[in-house]
Amino acid sequence: MTFNSKFTMTVRKIFKKYGKTVFIIFIVWLIIFLFNMYLRNRPKKLEANKTYNPDNPVIDYGGSVPNSQKQSVNETLDTYLNYCKNKDYDNAFNMLTNDCKAYLYNNDINEFKKYASNVFEKFNNYSYVQNYSNQDKVYIYEVTILSNDILSTGTTGGYEKYQEKITIIEEDGVKKIANQGYITHEKLSREAEDDFMRVKVKCKDMSYSRVSYTLEVKNKTDKTIVIADYNAGKEVTLNIEGEYQLATNLAIQESIIKPGETKELEYIFDKFYDSKREDTQINFNYVRIIPDFDFELTLEQQKEQAYKIYSFNINL
């Protein structure tokens, strides 16, 4: 038998025996091949891929703005910014949360107008927003406003930009605005007391990058209590789960309580709102009780004359 006839016989045998299998494999391959061809050649949806997405948070600890909230959040932000750009400051002020009005503007619309005219009369052209961080139905956006419409000028003459964090937060079921980085207010009722003073923690106000505590301090003695006069280091700190933050406003606020006096004091600390760590204590690290206090006393003289020097902690 020649090679050709042997080859033909073998091919016939193979097809007789494996014909069905080969046929099925071929059909399957053909289907996959045709489907692949279809996917390659079908009309593509042409859409410019862009990295700018205003609702995707820069910091994503708290996740994105939920789809169900995107429209109302953006509408609130747009409405507020349009009021400001159109110098309709009364309506813009009405969109602020009560806490924001009280903390930043003492509930005085004129204070808001002063801020708004400074910002929106200089930077009133092109603006854009970028979601920054979201925590428990609090949506923080960074708003950028440019000093001129750069597409119209081509940047001729340069341009400046102003940025601030604006928070959209629900108040009595309505979405409201907290501006200039401010976020929210929380009433507190912590107390700490010893033989010399009684401290009540009344509230805390949170901004995006700082937290402020308002305390009421009663001097129970007939001597002056110096909590902080910017003479000693680290006089007031906030303990954030073991990390100590120094109060940032000690230079502008003396914490000196006269005999028998009750005084309200505010301490501001650097802390990001979206930090997951809890505040555990406010520490008065260098309390001096001085019988005959004089503002001219140096730290050394205070030490010499002090009836007592100690530290005092308020648990939060």
């Binding site: 193979i14 391959w29 091949f33 410019a48 862009k50 990295t51 092109y126 597409l151 119209s152 081509g154």
Partner: protein
């Protein structure tokens, strides 16, 4: 012998099928890569007229742009604008400008043509030095030089682009 031939035949069939698939895959992959690389590597490029040829249909250009990254697309738009200047198609370049920008700086095509003839070199070589974004507006800083004329003082420009859709954009630049 028969068994060997059977095995060989089956292997040949499988190899042919695999080879067909491989050729299709390689062709597709190379096509995508060469298109992207052509533009991403052009930090310094002499603008030639072939960036936007007349034969290119709107759709195929959109498909091409769709494959590009954001930065490459913006460079392509700048390239298109400068290629018009380079080939003295001032009206086409003028039509790419943002309307408010034209209203302020170049009320007529003649104004723009005079400016372009005065400021841009006869042969344009562009170097991209920076790229910024302000929301959905892009600012590309470029250095424009003339490789054929050493006397030409480098022109530094910010080109501001707003892309409305693929191949649908307007631009402006800082006027000096």
């Amino acid at each position: 012998m028969n068994k060997n031939i059977k095995k060989i035949l089956i292997i040949i069939v499988i190899l042919i099928l695999m080879a067909i698939n491989l050729i299709i895959f390689i062709n597709h992959f190379n096509y995508k890569n060469t298109e992207e690389n052509n533009l991403t590597n052009q930090i310094s490029t002499i603008i030639k007229h072939n960036i936007a040829t007349e034969e290119e249909t709107e759709n195929s250009r959109k498909e091409m742009l769709n494959e590009y990254s954001e930065a490459t697309r913006m460079k392509t738009y700048v390239g298109q604008y400068l290629s018009y200047i380079d080939s003295e198609k001032y009206e086409d370049a003028y039509n790419l400008l943002y309307q408010n920008f034209k209203n302020t700086y170049f009320k007529t095509l003649v104004d723009f043509e005079n400016y372009a003839k005065e400021k841009y070199p006869s042969e344009i070589m562009v170097e991209y030095t920076n790229m910024n974004k302000e929301g959905n507006i892009y600012i590309l800083s470029v250095k424009i030089q003339d490789p054929t004329n050493k006397e030409y003082k480098t022109l530094e420009q910010n080109i501001v682009i707003q892309e409305n859709d693929l191949n649908d954009f307007v631009l402006s630049f800082n006027v000096e």
